[in-house]
Each structure stands twice: as structure tokens, then as C-alpha cells.
Amino acid sequence: MPRNPVEANTGHRLTAKKRFLDQEGRWGLLLTSPYLIHFLVFVLGTLLTSLYFSLSNYDMLNPPEWVGLKNYDRLVHDPVFWKALWNTLYFVILFVPTQTFLALILAVALNQKLKGLKLFRMAHFVPVISSWTVILYVTDAVFNPRFGMANTLLTQLGLDPQKWLQDEVLVIPILVLIAVWKGVGYIMLIFLAGLQNVPQDLYEAAELDGAGVIKRFRYITLPMISGSTFLVLILSTISTFQAFEQIYVMTGGAADATAAGGPNNASLVLMLYLYREGFSFLHMGYASAIAWVLFVILFVLTWIQVRLQKRWVHYE
């Protein structure tokens, strides 16, 4: 039985110093061992394995052969990789700010005392829990080049119909638009939770001092929910870098795997490229290298965001 922690952290500690772990430490390790073992085997183990694969020539059907940095060298000279990297960044740059900004506005709007508020919140949450396949059919009704509403509207206005998802320039912006529509409800909920934690008396005090709506939002709301904002930015950056399913489904990967990421690789993001190289072409070593590059990028970006948070995130 663990004794009370206060005792453990005082005199008792000193006598147990000689032993590697005292009673309590052992219990702690034992009770967390299911997770620790899971972590060692299924997380750290697989990470190291994939690092080894990324340094080998590995087609899954034969044992890996060590090639050192050759995969990384090929990566640097691979135009498709650079295109995929750019597509990914372009997606993130469009998606993260748009979604965060819209979600914040929605959250503030839905934080009022309105009738039918629950209905609105629910309506924004429906796309979040829908599968991408369903979303594909819904958005196809709009963006289908032959039968979609968007082109019907354009032609009625006397404008040229567009190819939408088959257009190299438009494909990523349209995908971002759909992704924002699907994801904004979830982020809005995080903001809502943050907003409801802002103490009312702050607003009241500010009102007494004569601060208007804009000022109150700027000097109270924003700083008070900066913690949620930080969380949202980190989460959506990481998830966007790992976007796969949406693009695979929406660019027709389900019907024809070679179509995914099209037209002409205009929507090929890193995860899609990794999947294609690893699972369609059996270049598992090369795919592992792509995965590690992705990891390093995300690690650096997250680290920068964490460093920057000191300047603007305000925790009570």
C-alpha cells in the first residue's frame, strides 16, 4: 500500500536512497507498467524500427538492406517530394488560420444567450462526426463539374464553368474550404469551453471603466482564451500535416488509387506521397524517410510554437 506522499518526500526518502527505487517508486512503476511496456514495444520500438527502415532499402517482401543515407539523398533530389512538401505547407497555411479565425467568431457568436442555441451548436457539429465518404457525396452535389450546383450557378450568371477539384490551381483551396467546413465545429467547441471559463466580473469591471465591445474582446476575451488558442493552433497544425483521408477520398483514390493526389500531383500531400511510395510501390524504406522528415518538420514547428507561447499565451 502506498503510504501518504508527504511522508514519502521527507525523511523516508533519505534512508531509501541506497536502493535503486523505494517501495513507492516500485509500486508506481508496476502500476504504470502496462502503459510503459506498450510505449516501449509499440511506440518507441516501432519508431526505432522505422528509423532503421529509412536507412535501408526495404520492399517488405524481402529483408531490409542497409543503405545509409541514400533514401534521404534521393528525397532531396526528388521533385515530387518538394511538390508534396509545398502542397502540404500550402494546405496548412490556408487551413489553420482560416479555421481558427472562423471557429473563434462562431464560438463568440454562440456564447450569447440566444434561443435555439443548442440547435446551432449541434448543426455545426454534424460535419465533424460525419465520415469523409459521406462528405464526398455532399460536396459533390456542389462541386461536380457536370452536375454540381456551383457550375450551374456560374453558367446561369454567364460565367465559364470550372473544373473545381480537377483544376490544378483550385484543388487545394477547395479542399481547404471543405476541411474548414467539416472541422470548424470541433475547434469552436474548444473555444466555447475557453470562453465559458472567462470570469464575468472581469467584463463587468471593464464595462464600469467604459470599455466597449471591441476593447473588451481585445483586452479580456483574447488573453483569457489564449490557452485554448494555443492548443488549437498546435492541434490543427499537426493534424493538417497528417491530412490523408480527406484528400485520398476527395481526389478519387477509392475508385482508382492512381488518381489520389491529382490532378497532376496538385493535391499530393506528404502523407499521400508516403502512402503511395510505401504501400502501392513497396518503397518502404523511402516512405519511412518521408515519415521522418515529416516528424522533424512537425517537431521543429511545435517547438517554435511552444517557445513563442511565452510571449502571448496567458495562463491564470
Binding site: M1, R26, W27, L30, S33, P34, I37, D59, M60, L61, N62, D140, N144, P145, R146, F147, P161, K163, L165, Q166, G252, A254, A255, D256, T258, G262, P263, N264, N265, R276, F279, S280, F281, L282
Partner: protein
């Protein structure tokens, strides 16, 4: 205290141990006598699974010492799972391989060379498609389970409405295009020969085709071109014959007669265009008969057209049984028994033919009523059998998936009018050769 600690530790270890062994493959003990347990993998297609199980039960009755367990997944996941299982060393003892993937496994040493057994046990004359699994060195890697072969499908009602006479076996690709122009209608009902025809609002295409098998490959071959030379290691894309073939397609797409890649995207799937009466003709493989029948089309089939010099070509995919190279002798022999049962037994062949999914492998069954008059609709199934005379595979090799992607990406840009044909084929040629060299010149 200490004892409880120990017992807790031990029980946790035990749970973990059980969990771990549950995840790994347990070696199946060979029972007494010569009982063999055979793991059979195939991609399931809903409708045919029950029939497959029936045939497996029949096989076990005939071979009481072999116990067959099945491993299935939908097509899309089957090969991904299979690859990871081969990597982990616990793949099935034999599996059904998509015809275009046999070379991928053969050239990477994952499946058994079956030449000896085929020579010994099968009379090659009796079967269709054995040679489609033969490599450049003359080795056999697989035995067909059912064959897909391409023909020209046409919608009789749409031909009648346009007053165009049905395709004949003498058609050239130019004849096809002439007819297709009359069968292409815009939203105002004008056909493609009409000067007022609006190619931007096509409501009915003369011909739909997509991707490799039911698209560019047979045309290029009939024009005397192709993608790889007979060694399957060298690209022959940049040739005048291919240019002529691709020009034929690009011109058709530009005029709105043939579906281009972007038109296809407006349908839920490329397979939907013909059954939904949005196109009058289609290059389709045998399996497409099912969908056409289901949608109640009044359709028929004939041979694919001739190229300019009279050359013909029909694309073939021989989906085949292959045996895991790591299967031990007993299991490999049991697997071979299954393959023999599948191709030699008339009953098995007829039962499978009735499903209408593939052309039967055994010639005697394919040329009998079991195949020719199967299904609820009479169509000219003889055309599928006649096409074997000029049938060929899709230049399959170890990196087939990859070169198809490279070629497809480039040719699509020509189809969409973004890149001139010369340039697209030149880039495709370089890209495909690079892909080949990466694998073959290690």
C-alpha cells in the same frame, strides 16, 4: 506486502505474455498422420464468397487430410494486408493474386516457381491464359483462377435512337470514331458532326474509356505501339505508332466524343458511365457484363476494333492462384492440390462460370453452355473467347503499379489538352524508364 507485489507482477506478466502471443503467429502444430492445414487467401467480392466457401467444402470432402482456412478482405485492403503479412512471415500458403500483380511477387521472390508442376500435371492446351503468367525466361509463376479480357460493349438502344448501325468485327478505330461522333449528343440533342454542336455540354458520350486496361493500352497496341519491349525492362513509349494512337484519343476527347479524365470525375466511378446510359460504347472487361445486365441495358459486345494496319489487340488480366514461396513442402503440395481441383474439375469450373465474374480457365467449360449461355441475358459471349487469339497482358512486371502511375499522369495531361502529345510521351518515356531502372539496375 512483498508477496503481493510478486504475485501482482507475475499476474501482469502473464496477462502481457498472453497478449503478446495472441498478436504473434502461433506455429500450427502438424497433427497426427499427414493432416495439413492450408491457409488460403483471396479478395472477397460479396456475391461470390458463398460459392467460394462451397467449393472449398467440396475440396475438403475430396481431400480429408487437408483443412482449409480462409483469409479474406475486400480488394482494396487485401494486398496491403498481404504485403505486411509477407513482411511479418505469416502470409497465407496460397492466395489469389490480381493478374497484374503476379510479376510483383514473382520478381521479388515471394511466390513459388510452378513450372515443374504445371509441366507434369496440366495439359497446357486445355486451359486459357497459362502463358499470361509466364516470364521472359519462360517460367510459370501462377495458374489462372478466372480471366478478364477486353471487348467493345455497345448500347443497342442508343445506336437505334441515333440510327447508327451496330459495330461489326471489321471495324477499325477510325470507324469507331465516326460512329461515336454520331452517338455523341450535347444538351440540345445535337450530335458531334453538327456544326452547332456544343462540346462543353455533352450529355451522352460516343465512347467512354478510362485508365489502362479499358483505355489507352489496347489502342496503343492495336496501332502497333505499346509501353514496354518484350523484356519488360525497357520503355518503347516514344514511338510514332504511340503518337498516332494517342493523337486519336486526344482528338476524340477534344471533340467531346470520348470521356476525358475530367469528364470521368463527374461520375461516382468510371465504371458508371456506360451502365448509366451516359455513353454508347465502352472498352470493357468480362466482369463488366454483370453491371450492364443489372442496370437492365439493352447491350451487346463485339471484338475491339483493328488498328490502321489491321492489327488487333485485346487486353487480358489473368487473376491467378499463386503459392507462397515460404510454404513448406506439405503445404505447397496441398496448395497445388487446390489449384488442380480448381482448374481441372469441370464441376468447379462450371459452378464458378455461373457467377458470371470471369471467363473460365478450362477451355472445354468456356466453350460450353455453362459459360456461353450463362446469365439472364443473351449476349455474344463468343466474342470474349475469340479475342484470345490476339490477347496480351498489360506489360506487367515488378513495378507495374509504378510505371502505370507515371505514364497515366503524363498521358492525362495530353488528354486534357495541357501538354502536346509529343511532349507528354517524351516525358512519360523518360519517367517510365527511370522507374524501370530503379528496380532492374541495382
Amino acid at each position: 506486502m512483498a508477496r503481493r507485489f510478486v504475485s501482482l507482477t507475475v499476474s501482469m506478466m502473464l496477462v502481457l505474455f498472453l497478449f503478446m502471443t495472441g498478436c504473434s503467429s502461433s506455429a500450427d502444430p502438424q497433427g497426427s498422420g499427414d493432416q495439413v492445414e492450408l491457409k488460403l487467401g483471396f479478395y472477397s467480392s460479396g456475391a461470390s464468397d458463398a460459392k467460394m466457401q462451397e467449393l472449398i467444402d467440396g475440396f475438403m470432402k475430396k481431400h480429408p487430410n487437408i483443412k482449409v482456412t480462409t483469409e479474406t478482405a475486400p480488394y482494396g485492403q487485401f494486398f496491403q494486408k498481404l504485403d505486411t503479412r509477407i513482411a511479418a512471415g505469416n502470409a497465407p500458403d496460397l492466395w489469389l493474386s490480381d493478374g497484374v500483380l503476379v510479376a510483383k511477387y514473382a520478381e521479388r521472390g515471394a511466390i513459388k516457381d510452378l513450372t515443374e508442376w504445371i509441366d507434369k500435371d496440366l495439359n497446357k492446351e486445355d486451359y486459357y491464359g497459362l502463358d499470361f503468367n509466364k516470364d521472359a525466361e519462360g517460367r510459370y509463376w501462377a495458374v489462372p483462377q478466372g480471366i478478364q479480357i477486353g471487348v467493345l460493349f455497345y448500347n443497342k438502344d442508343l445506336f437505334d435512337q441515333a440510327g447508327v448501325s451496330y459495330p461489326t468485327e471489321d471495324w477499325t478505330y477510325d470507324d469507331l470514331k465516326k460512329a461515336a461522333a454520331k452517338l455523341t449528343l450535347d444538351s440540345k440533342g445535337k450530335n458531334a458532326d453538327d456544326p452547332k454542336f456544343d462540346g462543353k455540354s455533352v450529355s451522352q458520350f460516343g465512347l467512354t474509356f478510362f485508365s489502362i486496361t479499358e483505355g489507352w493500352f489496347p489502342v496503343m497496341k492495336a496501332y502497333g505501339g505499346g509501353v514496354l519491349d518484350p523484356t519488360m525492362k525497357k520503355s518503347i513509349i516514344d514511338s510514332p505508332e504511340n503518337r498516332q494512337a494517342v493523337e486519336w484519343m486526344v482528338d476524340g476527347m477534344k471533340r467531346g466524343i470520348i470521356t476525358d479524365p475530367s469528364d470521368l470525375k463527374s461520375f461516382k466511378s468510371p465504371m458508371e458511365v456506360f451502365p448509366s446510359k451516359s455513353a454508347a460504347m465502352w472498352f470493357g472487361i468480362y466482369a463488366r457484363v454483370l453491371a450492364a445486365n443489372e442496370s437492365g441495358l439493352n447491350h451487346d459486345v463485339t471484338l475491339l476494333p483493328k488498328g490502321p494496319s489491321g492489327k488487333r489487340f485485346a487486353p487480358v488480366i489473368a487473376n491467378s492462384w499463386v503459392i507462397n514461396n515460404k510454404a513448406d513442402d506439405a503445404k505447397a503440395k496441398a496448395a497445388w492440390e487446390w489449384i488442380k481441383y480448381w482448374v481441372t474439375e469441370d464441376e468447379v469450373q462450371s459452378e464458378w462460370a455461373v457467377l458470371g465474374e470471369a471467363v473460365p480457365v478450362k477451355k472445354s467449360v468456356a466453350n460450353s453452355d455453362a459459360f456461353l449461355n450463362s446469365g439472364n441475358k443473351k449476349i455474344n459471349k463468343q466474342a470474349f473467347l475469340d479475342s484470345f487469339e490476339f490477347a496480351g497482358t498489360l506489360d506487367t512486371n515488378a513495378v507495374w503499379n509504378e510505371w502505370v502511375q507515371v505514364f497515366g499522369d503524363n498521358v492525362d495531361r495530353a488528354f486534357l489538352g495541357e501538354v502536346p502529345v509529343n511532349k507528354a510521351l517524351g516525358e512519360a518515356d523518360r519517367g517510365v524508364q527511370k522507374t524501370l531502372d530503379q528496380f532492374y539496375q541495382k
